[in-house]
Amino acid sequence: MREAWRRSSFGLLTRLFLRQFLENDAISPDADRSQLLAVVGSLAMSLTLFLSFVMSAKYVSTWTPGGAAVASLDDKFLYLAFGMIVTALVAATQWDTLSIDPRDAAILEPLPVEPGLIRRAKLAAVAMLGGGVAIAVNLFPSFIFPWLLMFGFRQMSVAWLVPLVAVHFAVTVAAAGFGYLAVIALRETAALVLGQRAFGMASPWLQGALIVVLGSMLLLLPAAADGIAQRGFEDRRAQSPPMWFLGVYETLAGAIIADLPRTAMTPRQVGMDRRSSAIYDQCRREFPALAQRAVYASGFTAVLAALAYLLRARRLPSLAPASAPAYRRRWHTGARLANAVLVRDLAARAGFHFALAAMWRNNTHRLTLACAAAGGFAMAVLALSSAMPGADQAVSVRLLWVQPLLFGALLVGFRHIIRVPAELRANWGFQLAWGDRGEAFLTGVKAAAVIGLVVPALIVVLPLFVFVLGAPRAALHAVLGLAGAIVFLEIIIHGYDKVPFTCTYLPSENMKALAPLYAIAFVLGTATFARLQHWALHDGSPMRPLLALAVVFVVLRVISVKRPRQGLVDFDEAPVPFAGLNLSS
C-alpha cells in the first residue's frame, strides 16, 4: 500500500514538493537534506522535551487544586502561543514554496500529469508540513505537562491522564494549525487581491514584516505568558488568538484539576486554595466565550485559506517575465543623489549599490535581517516596558536602551549576511573585475548598512522619542544614535578582509565559545552607551560624547587603513577536507 503510494504520480509529486521545503535559498545547496531534517526534527523535539520538563517541574511540589488551575493557565498559554508562532514562522519562512512555483509549473506542465493532480499534491505537501511541525512541537509537552500537572494530586487516578493528554494535544495542535493556516490565508488572500504583478513586488516585504512580527512575539512570549489569571481578560492580550484556544482548553479540561476533591489540606493551604479558586472561577466565566471565538476564528481562517488557495490554484502560474517595477525607476533618483553626496569613489559606489541590492532583494539576506530586526524589536519592547519616568520627569536610562538595541541587532545581522554569498555561482564576475580597492568597496558597503538599515530604523523609532523627549532632545538622541551605530559598524567589520556578499563562508569554529561573550559585551556596550546618552541629554552638552565617538571612529579607520591586507582575495575558500586528531603526537 505504502509502496503503491510512493510510486503513484500523486505520491511522487507530493514527495517532490516536500523536498522543496528543504531546498530553499536559506539552505546551502550542498547540505545533506536527511541530516538537516534529522537535526532540525531532533532539535525541535529535544528542546520542547527539555522546556516542558523545566516548566512543569514546579507542579511536582505540593499544590492545591485551585493554585494549580491558576498557575497552569500561564503554561498553557505559553504552549499554545509557542506552537502557534512556530508553525506560523515555518509558514512565513517557506512563503514562496507554499503555492505552486512558476518554475514547477514550467517543468511539470509538459508532462502527462493532470494539473489537478499537481495542485492536490502541493496541497498535501503543504498540509503535511504544517501538520508535521505542529505535531513535532507539541508531542512531548502533551505527555509531560499533564503528567507532571497531576503528579502531586493523589486523589487523581491515572485514568484522568488520558483526557488531559488528549485535550492538551488536540488543542495545542489545533492552535498551531491555526497559526499555520492564518499565514496561508494572509498570503493567498493578498495574492488574490493584489494580482500577480503587485503581489510579486509586495510579497518579499510582507514576508519580511511577518517574520519581524512573529519573531518579536516569540521572543516576548515568556513576558506575555505571565499572570494570565491575575491580569484578567480586559486587556489586549485577552483578545489574542492563544487566549481563544486557552478558552477551548479550559472549557474541555479545566475542570479536571480545578474541581478536584479537596483532601488533606492544612489550614494555610485551604486559605490559599480558596483565594486561587476564586480567581479561577472569575476566569472560568470567560472561557466559553473565548472558546467560541476560537471556533469561529479557526473556521473563518480555514475557509478563507482554502477559498483563496483554490481560487489562485485554478490556473498554474506562468514564467512570464515581469516588467520593470516602478520602485526601480524611482530608485534611479535616489541612486544619483547617493552617488553625488555619499559615495563619490567608484569602488565605494559599487559596494554601496551592490550591498543595498543584495540585502533587500536576496531572499536569504532579507530573511536574516528580518530575524535580526525581530530580535532588536523584542529587546527594545522589553527595555521600553521597564522604562519608567523618574521622579523629576528625567528620561529613564532604559528608554535610551531602545535605539542602540535595535540598531545593534540590525548591524549584527548585517555583519552576518556580508559573509554569505548573495549568489555563489555569480562570483566569477567579481573575481575578474576585482582590483585592489577593497577598502573603498567596504566603505560603500558600510554606507549601505547605515542608509539601508540604521536610517529606516531611526525613522521608525523617532516619533516615539519626539513624543517622550520632545523634538530637540529627540533630535539629539537620534544624532547620538546614528553616530554610535556608525562606530559600532566600524568595530564589528574591523579586520574583514573578504569581499562582502561574494566570498564563500566558512563558519568560525570558536563561535560557540565566543557568542556568549559577544552577547555580554553587546549588552554592556548598550548599557554604557545609553548612560552616555542619558548624561548628554540631561546635561544638554552632546559635543563631548560626539567628540569621543569621533575619536574612536578615526582611530579605528586609521588602524584599518594602515593594517596590512592579504594580497589576493580567496573567493572560493574551501573547508579543510579532514581534521587531524594528532593522536600519535
Partner: protein, 258 residues
C-alpha cells in the same frame, strides 16, 4: 599589446586528469579557435587562462610575466565570456553592468554611455531595469558579453559564447570577434560550433580528452588531413565512433518496448 602564452597547462580534479600539457600562444590581433567535444577540457583551460582556476601544473604568461604573480593587473587586460552566464538574479541588467564597470574603475560618464550603447545594440533597452532573474539565457549572455567588453580589454576569452543566442546575435557576434581582432585584441574562441570557428578563426587548437591533438591554421589542417572542411578534420581527430551508427542505436533504444 602583448602576447599570451600557456605553458604545459594541466589540471586534475580529485586525481582525475581533465587537461594535460596544453601549450599555445596568442598574439594581438589573432583569433584562436579552441575546439573539442563535450568534456574535453575546453572550459577548464579557459578558466585556467582567466585565472579563475589554478593549474595543477604549468602556467600562463602575459607579456613575459606569469599571470598568477599579479592576477589583478592581468585581469584588467582581460575580458571573459563564460559558458554559463551566471549572474546576480536580483540585479537588473543595468545594475550588473554598473557594478562591473565601477569595480573596473571605468569613469562614470563613460560607463553610462557604454552601458546605454551596449544595451541599445543588444536590443535590451526595454529590459534594462528588469531583474536578471526574468532574463532568458540569451539575454543573460548578452549582458555577460557587454560586461566583458566594458573596459576595452586586450585579451578576450570566449567560452562557447553562442549558447542561447538568436541567429541575428550569433551573426553579429562573429563580426564582433573579427572587428575586435582587427583592432588588435587577442581572442581565444572556445566552441564546438565548427562552422563559426571555421569562419572566424585564424588557427585552431583541437582538444580531445584533455590533450591537444592538433594546433595549426585551418588551411594547413585541411591540407594535412585531406579534408575540404573543418568538420571533416575534426571528425577524423576526435570522433572515434560512427555518428550514424550511434544515432541508429539511440533511436532503437528509444523505441525499446514500444
Amino acid at each position: 599589446m602583448r602576447d599570451l602564452h600557456a605553458h604545459r597547462l594541466s589540471k586534475h580534479f580529485s586525481g582525475v586528469r581533465v587537461v594535460k600539457d596544453v601549450d599555445f600562444s596568442l598574439r594581438p590581433g589573432e583569433i584562436i579557435g579552441y575546439l573539442g567535444p563535450n568534456g574535453s577540457g575546453k572550459t577548464t583551460t579557459t578558466r585556467m587562462v582567466a585565472g579563475l582556476l589554478e593549474p595543477s601544473s604549468g602556467f600562463v604568461e602575459y607579456g613575459g610575466r606569469k599571470v598568477r604573480d599579479d592576477l589583478v593587473a592581468f585581469r584588467r587586460e582581460l575580458g571573459y565570456i563564460p559558458e554559463e552566464p551566471y549572474l546576480y538574479p536580483f540585479l537588473s541588467g543595468t545594475e550588473y553592468l554598473q557594478l562591473v564597470g565601477r569595480l573596473r574603475e571605468v569613469p562614470e560618464p563613460l560607463l553610462t554611455k557604454k552601458i546605454t550603447g551596449f544595451l541599445e545594440l543588444f536590443g535590451l533597452r526595454g529590459a534594462a531595469d528588469q531583474s536578471i532573474a526574468s532574463y532568458s539565457k540569451g539575454m543573460r549572455q548578452k549582458i555577460v558579453i557587454s560586461a566583458a567588453l566594458l573596459h576595452d580589454p586586450s585579451i578576450v576569452l570566449f567560452d562557447e559564447p553562442e549558447t542561447g543566442l538568436d541567429v541575428a546575435t550569433t551573426l553579429m557576434l562573429r563580426h564582433l570577434v573579427r572587428t575586435l581582432a582587427a583592432r588588435g585584441k587577442a581572442i581565444l574562441y572556445s566552441s564546438h560550433v565548427l562552422e563559426v570557428v571555421e569562419r572566424v578563426c585564424d588557427k585552431v587548437i583541437v582538444l580531445h580528452k584533455g590533450e591537444v591533438v592538433a594546433d595549426d591554421s585551418i588551411e594547413r589542417l585541411r591540407t594535412l588531413m585531406s579534408h575540404s572542411s573543418l568538420e571533416g578534420v575534426f571528425s577524423q581527430l576526435v570522433i572515434r565512433e560512427d555518428p550514424e551508427a550511434l544515432a541508429r542505436e539511440l533511436a532503437s533504444l528509444s523505441a525499446l518496448g514500444a
